[in-house]
């Protein structure tokens, strides 16, 4: 049975991927790459997409799960959309936020489509197909949280996704979703309450004082 970790603070985890999206130097570099790509040169566009693809992969993998058979297609579609949306980007925010917004929308749509398809056609309840090797127990728990996102309303789900899954701050989520920080905090508070109840119902959480 999967259990919530003890009330101890997690120790070091190699990689610390959540710091990637907030790395200021990387973000500045990505903005520069976006400006260069706007010049119409395919090499510059390729370099820009090369900088964007880790963000896109992370968003898509987070939303869809690493085993989703549509994952690579979704990533590629996101890159194409990002390239085509670039002329509309006015650099009022970070390019990484713009990319995250596009990727998140696409990834959510892909996840919903894949779920609908699997419900229609799958005769066996196979879990999603992994595109890579991963820890099945960990992914089972990750899927648990992803399933919660399907149950939340879209705005709460997006806020929780960006905060818990992708590690964005409330300010960044406000920029990405186009709402105030106060609204983000409200959505997060409600979303986190739902998360707690969801984990409790799934046998993963624990009640206060337990």
């Amino acid at each position: 049975m999967l259990r919530l970790i003890k009330a101890t603070v997690p120790r070091d985890v190699d990689g610390a991927p959540e710091t990637e999206a907030r790395d200021l130097a990387k973000e500045t570099e990505l903005d520069d790459r976006a400006r260069a790509a706007l010049g119409g040169d395919s090499t510059a566009l390729r370099i820009f997409l090369g900088g964007v693809v880790p963000i896109v992969r992370r968003v898509c993998r987070g939303v869809m799960g690493p085993g989703n058979p549509e994952l690579e297609d979704a990533i590629q579609d996101c890159l194409i959309e990002v390239a085509r949306a670039l002329p509309q980007f006015r650099f009022e925010g970070r390019a990484s936020h713009y990319v995250t917004k596009i990727a998140m929308r696409r990834a959510i749509a892909c996840r919903q489509r894949a779920r609908a398809l699997s419900q229609q056609r799958s005769t066996l309840e196979f879990s999603a197909l992994p595109a890579t090797t991963f820890d099945p127990a960990l992914e089972a728990r990750a899927d648990l949280v992803r399933n919660l996102l399907d149950a939340l309303n879209e705005e709460q789900a997006k806020a929780l996704l960006l905060y818990v899954m992708l590690g964005y701050s409330t300010e960044e989520i406000g920029v990405i979703t186009g709402v105030s920080v106060g609204t983000v905090k409200t959505r997060l508070r409600l979303g986190k309450e739902q998360l707690r109840r969801w984990l409790e119902r799934s046998g993963e959480g624990r009640r206060a004082g337990r």
Partner: protein
């Protein structure tokens, strides 16, 4: 008692981040542990963040996957640019011959409609393939996305160029004088204003979002479809549906008419305002529905022409376009070709798996799917997809109504992966026989 009442001071974001990174000092750690012991909400948040930090960490193959994704995206962008420029002048008959020739060369098994697709002018067809390939390659090299497409993702945009919205919906004005205005684009509603001219729409349908075209006296609501809207003389508006359904709604009376595939109707609000009166069609040849249908197959034509269709990258690209164009049948041949001709290519296992997936889920051909999944496992028995391919073989045979074969495949899975992810399901299949 609620956690927030017992512990009003939840840890701030920075503290949580440092906790996830394991960068807390002893005091902070103690304080946080004390808080988490009584606050299940924060404990749940921290647990979820930790799960995803590990789950989303990049693995050793991600760099290679990223490079491949970028290259394939670049190739698709260039080819789409070429297609956008080239498609309008396509001779449908020659294209069909070219496609048939190319698909025949790829080994596609044509059974159902071979008679209807006889090679009318094969010599011309071959010439067309060569000429079109040269043209497509030249266009792909010389056009960047900015020159042929525009994209709207937020706010209001007016453009006379083809637009691709952030959700992937496409709007193609039919001439430079057609103004397109994205007057609203939110998660619940997209409204496109077409005040003159004509445009084609290919909408990514989303049940939670209303996609509406405001064409003056009428509105057209997407119900999951590709369609064309054209202003004509005397305030009439022609709506032509090529796929799916649309609802045409009078802006005055809100009367509503639904149109389906092949419907080509002209509406006028002048003669009887709000009545949604259908007018007789007097379309000129250039306005005929034939030209309104988005030429989905052209994208596959372009792939085949541009690549010569016989190297792994070209075959994969052709399959990608076919799948994205919702023509899974057209993806079968290039994938099968790749697997058969380039079994040692690193992309072959993925191609075999994709082939199995398309056959199983899109085409309902489970027997062939089982063979394709078996190929995926055979080509790379220690590959990342091997376990899933082995399980899918069993699923495909089960779907094909072959329980004995399904059980055999399940036994193979159980032997290879006794603690595998699908072992419970596999045991179930074995147990049935």
């Amino acid at each position: 008692m609620q956690a927030g009442e017992q512990f009003p001071n939840h840890p701030n974001e920075e503290l949580i981040r440092r906790a996830i990174r394991g960068a807390l000092d002893a005091n902070d750690r103690t304080a946080l542990e004390r808080h988490l012991a009584g606050c299940p909400t924060c404990a749940a948040e921290l647990e979820a963040r930790r799960i995803f930090q590990v789950s989303l960490a990049r693995d050793g193959e991600d760099d290679a996957r990223d490079r491949d994704a970028v290259e394939r995206a670049m190739a698709n962008i260039a080819r789409k640019a070429a297609l956008d420029t080239h498609a309008s002048g396509t001779d449908e008959e020659l294209d069909r011959v070219a496609l048939d020739r190319a698909m025949a060369g790829l080994g596609e098994r044509k059974t159902s409609h071979a008679g209807a697709r006889r090679f009318v002018r094969p010599a011309i067809g071959f010439a067309a393939v060569g000429a079109a390939a040269a043209a497509a390659i030249a266009l792909a090299v010389s056009h960047t996305p900015r020159t042929t497409t525009a994209t709207a993702t937020a706010g209001s945009v007016t453009s006379t160029r083809p637009l691709i919205l952030a959700d992937g919906s496409e709007i193609a004005p039919e001439d430079a004088a057609t103004p397109i205005q994205i007057s609203e684009e939110t998660p619940v509603r997209t409204t496109v204003r077409l005040s003159a001219g004509a445009a084609r729409f290919r909408v990514r349908h989303d049940d939670r979002r209303l996609f509406r075209v405001d064409a003056g006296s009428i509105e057209i609501e997407d119900l999951g479809t590709a369609f064309r809207v054209a202003h004509e003389a005397e305030g009439r508006v022609r709506v032509t549906v090529s796929e799916g359904r649309v609802a045409v709604v009078s802006t005055l009376s809100r009367l509503r008419v639904e149109l389906g595939p092949g419907d080509d109707r002209v509406f006028s609000d002048t003669a009887a305002p709000g009545k949604l009166v259908e007018q007789p069609s007097d379309a000129t040849p250039s306005e005929a529905p034939k030209t309104a249908v988005v030429p989905v197959r052209d994208s596959i034509h372009a792939q085949l022409r541009a690549h010569g269709a016989d190297d792994p990258a070209g075959l994969l690209a052709a399959a990608d376009v076919a799948r994205r164009s919702r023509l899974p049948r057209a993806a079968v041949a290039p994938l099968r070709r790749l697997v058969e001709r380039y079994p040692k290519d690193p992309r072959a296992p993925s191609a075999a798996f994709t082939l199995g997936w398309v056959l199983l889920t899109d085409l309902n051909r489970p027997r062939e799917a089982a063979i394709a999944f078996a190929d995926a496992e055979r080509i790379a028995p220690r590959g990342a997809l091997a376990e899933d391919a082995a399980a899918r073989v069993a699923e495909a045979w089960q779907n094909a109504g072959e329980p004995r074969r399904a059980a055999a495949a399940a036994r193979h899975y159980a032997q290879m992966y006794p603690t595998g992810r699908y072992i419970v399901l596999m045991r179930g299949l074995i147990g049935e026989h």
